[in-house]
């Protein structure tokens, strides 16, 4: 370490009040000999004086209230719902964890089939027979529905089965959302 670097370090440490007595004496002796470093030491002390005596600035009035209003408006207050969110995220990750191997297996199976002409032909035949089976089943359902239509109107069956189920689903969704809203409002009113 050169002398200059050493005394620069001493000056820095002196400003931090972290200089031993021998080091301080060595610095003083050096500054008495070096005008350039003595001038720099003066300037460093001025910098230290200005910075250490300048007070903190105050925030504008009402700042804390604005921060709390911003927090309230972002609805970050409900830690429970955030934990629920975390739970959902973990659930989705777990689902992905289980689904990815299945998708990989499916992809491998598809690759094996595509690269094997015999298997591809078999798949095509299965597909066409499946399609014809689906068409015949659809026709059967149509015939059966027609028979039911003669005895009881189809619309009545739909109304008695699908509509109550849809209403039940809508009520469940509304109930869950309302529950979250009420817990947030309760916390707000407690304040």
């Amino acid at each position: 370490m050169s002398d200059s670097t050493k005394y620069q370090r001493y000056m820095n440490n002196a400003l931090d009040r972290d200089l031993s007595e021998p080091e301080w004496e060595a610095l003083q002796a050096h500054l008495a000999e070096s005008e350039e470093d003595a001038a720099q030491w003066e300037q460093l002390q001025d910098v230290d004086e200005v910075l250490s005596t300048t007070p903190q600035v105050d925030p504008p009035p009402g700042f804390a209230k604005r921060v709390m209003a911003a927090i309230a408006s972002l609805h970050l207050g409900d830690f429970a719902s955030r934990q629920l969110g975390v739970g959902i995220a973990f659930g989705m990750m777990a689902a992905a964890f289980f689904i990815l191997p299945l998708l990989s297996l499916l992809l491998i199976a598809l690759l094996l089939i595509i690269t094997d002409p015999g298997a591809l032909n078999e798949l095509f035949q299965t597909g066409t027979s499946g399609a014809s089976y689906f068409i015949s089943v659809s026709n059967d359902i149509g015939d059966n529905m027609g028979a039911i239509d003669q005895a009881r109107p189809v619309l009545l069956i739909l109304a008695s089965a699908v509509i109550p189920l849809a209403l039940l689903w809508a009520w469940s969704v509304r109930h869950v959302f309302n529950k979250q809203k009420v817990s947030t409002n309760q916390r707000a009113s407690q304040r």
Binding site: V50, L51, S52, T54, V57, P60, F63, G77
Partner: protein, 195 residues
């Protein structure tokens, strides 16, 4: 004692008492605002950044380690946010389509007693000094002089080494001393006496 009660307020906030976080905001608003103002040198932007720092702290409160000082944790959030803002600001300045921002001294247009504190000669002088430092150096100076943090604490906050912080502060002091050489502190003395 302060740290214990900080931890208590954090726990109460985590238990759903938002008012407890309000206490923490009141306790540290000055520290956080001072940091953002010293770093950004613009009153409006400093207020936005300070608010953002509190929001980030609140949103990440579950990650706060109760064994650490809440103030240190909060100021490290504010510091990182200021560094991000300064980087974005630099990119904006580099864009030819964006107009240059007005001089910080001209942006303090909000009336009130706090304005006097911000626009007085000493603050303008100090902010001009700080403004010529790189963000990393400026942050080291601000944390050292206005918060009296040790090198170890600053290093922990900025996720670097103690020697790196010591080096930054040393170079920052030298740069500031060179600035003072061009703009002597004696010109400020009347303002210092008056403030």
């Amino acid at each position: 004692m302060s740290q214990d009660s900080d931890a208590l307020l954090v726990q109460q906030t985590l238990d759903g008492d938002q008012q407890a976080f309000g206490e923490l905001v009141l306790r540290y608003e000055r520290d956080v605002f001072n940091l953002t103002y010293r770093m950004l040198n613009n009153r409006g932007e400093a207020e936005d950044a300070a608010q953002e720092a509190f929001l980030r702290a609140y949103a990440n409160l579950e990650r706060y380690d109760m064994n650490r000082s809440f103030k240190t944790w909060l100021l490290s959030i504010a510091s990182n946010h200021c560094i991000d803002r300064l980087r974005r600001r630099r990119l904006t300045w580099l864009s030819l389509e964006e107009p240059l921002p007005p001089h910080p001294a001209l942006t303090s247009d909000i009336p009130g007693p706090e304005e006097a504190a911000l626009t007085n000669e000493r603050n303008v002088f100090v902010q001009e000094l700080l403004d010529n430092l790189s963000p990393d150096y400026r942050l080291a100076v601000v944390l050292r002089y206005w918060y009296d943090f040790s090198y170890a604490e600053i290093a922990e906050m900025l996720e670097t080494t103690e020697s790196a912080i010591k080096s930054r502060l040393f170079r920052a002091r030298q740069a500031l001393a060179n600035q003072l050489d061009a703009n002597p502190v004696s010109a400020l003395n009347p303002a210092l006496e008056g403030s």
